[in-house]
Amino acid sequence: MINEYDGSALQSAVPFLDIDKIIGDRQTKIIICCGSGGVGKTTTSAAVAVRAAEAGRKVVVLTIDPARRLAQSLGVGELDNTPRPVTMIDTATGGSLDAMMLDMKGTFDDVVVAHSTPEKAAAILQNQFYVALSSEFSGTQEYMAMEKLGQLHSEAEAHGTWDLIVVDTPPARSALDFLDAPEHLSALLDGRFLRLLLHPTRGPMRLMSAGFSMMSAAMTKILGAQILGDVQTFVRAFEALFGGFRQRATSTFELLSSRHSTFLVVATPQHDALREAAYFVDRLTEEGMPLSGMVLNRVHTSALAISPERALSLAEDLVGTSAVLEAEALRRHAALMRTIETETRMMERFAAARPAVAQTQVQSLPTDVTDLAALRRVGALLSDKD
């Protein structure tokens, strides 16, 4: 049933984000879900992956969050760095689903081992600076997500294991981390400062060496001589890998910009989440990234077209009578209608500023998503235009 409060007026004005069309297009090989924390990004990724698999795609879903409940809802005991088959899905259409969770350090270790000699690899893996970098550097997670995505894509292309990769991005500190981190890390490892650190007397920088030794002394004071020593050892051992890192980051970036990839921005109809979503949309547009549209989770709806004012007035009439449940039901309905009004206003503002961004809405669910059936329901709601 349609009424003036459920956002249907908005839906007709805003282009519809057709998830089924995206997953039905065999040229779509990568779907990236991004958005701020707490908006249901991981659930959306899993729901899209399940729906695509049951529509005949051979899917692998890469999650970043250590959400044990997601593993449970997919019926996979534990998610780790290796894709595990999700056996409970319906394979009648020839699709399949594997699920995995990014192990940041494990992925970094694999890269080191795969691209250097055993002796060099051993030296790198033991280096204190490497240990800190691979397990704690704030951009490593994003960088390794990119690296893993590149690996999955190569494997998919080479062996035909998968024809669709769904990626759940890290809970970014800011909306821009995901796109910036790979560049940031390679700039860091390949940057002027490191080159200065390694060869302070070479190249056009040598004239700066007096100033540099002052800086170097300051850095040593702050960081301690030992860590700078570790960094130098690490960089020497790692130097040969830099080119490869850069190259792969660049080709993954190109892959993400290609027509085989598409971005879904996930949000909820709240001020904060929509603000972050706006950053994401603008940034992706600026970078020329293929944005399909926005998934709005937890949108409230009501099938009862009674305004909050009228509901409260009816509730007031019942005060002092035995109709306690009725009065409370009306008050709750009034609050729900107010929530819907607020959400609609937020969504309208977003749509007015960015009218070209397609949207799909998933209504607020009464219970948590804890099993495959619930993920299927979310998938159906995602694809439902009404």
Partner: protein
Amino acid sequence: MSPRHTLHIVSGKGGTGKTTIAAGLACALATSGRRVLLCEVEGRNGISELFGVPPLTGAGERRINRTSAGGMVYGLSVDAEDALIEYLDTFYHLSIAGKALDRFGAVDFATSIAPGLRDVLLTGKVYEAVRRKIKSRPNPYDAVVLDAPPTGRIARFLNVHAAVAGLAKVGPIRSQADSIMRLLRSSTTAVHFVSLLEDMPVTETEEAIAALRPTQIRIGTVIENMVTLTPLDHDQLQTAAAGSVALQVPGLTIKQNQALASEFAIEAARTLQEQQRHDRLTALGLPLAQITFDPGGIDEGAILVIAEQLRDQMSLEAA
């Protein structure tokens, strides 16, 4: 006497409204004549957005609100790179070198290769602001509220000892970390957690509290946000949730009454689930506060309503 906290650290899972609660708490603490500093460390401009003021940039502290009680709330957005340059200046009189370092990407380098250093710099700036309560220093604050990183990162963020352990055994950074840790462990500091009455935020709150216990940092209040209160008892809620009651609101059609009943069944079921999550948070054995859900959304007025609720329920030094 109520416990006296001068540093309030607010954490919570993404989406629980921790920035809003931190802002409300700052306003609650800013009673007559008091000056309260509200800090953020994640460069999101969350504070300036909330109060509708221009973004807080650089190392400056700006007045963002004068409360009706006659107190002042100031805002500060702490940036690690600014903090490092300030640190170099304070301890080594190296502000020019600091700027040169910045130009070479060295400041970015230092704060990135040693993530622990980043946290020490961020908490160090907050430490400096708290220490200013000593009246001889400029700009003293009566209380400082920190909008801290989310639950998933809070224990690591606050455990500055561990952060610098591999970094510096001696030297200024080490003694800086020691001083920060002493402040964090003192009785004038408390970490508050914001949670919704949903499964994941409650689980993350439980996990963050368990992770924080070994650090000996005091945990203050668990704040349940966006709570819907109900006058109904458990039996009434269960009856409503079962969907078996026929509601009879005079003036509504049979169809409308049915639609109302099925909507109410879902609402009642949700409330029952929320009560279970409330029981889980109660089991933590910590003081609880409840902030009611505001269907009108969050604006400056809503923050003041939150401030009032916090003042009524938390034992604040300003109360």
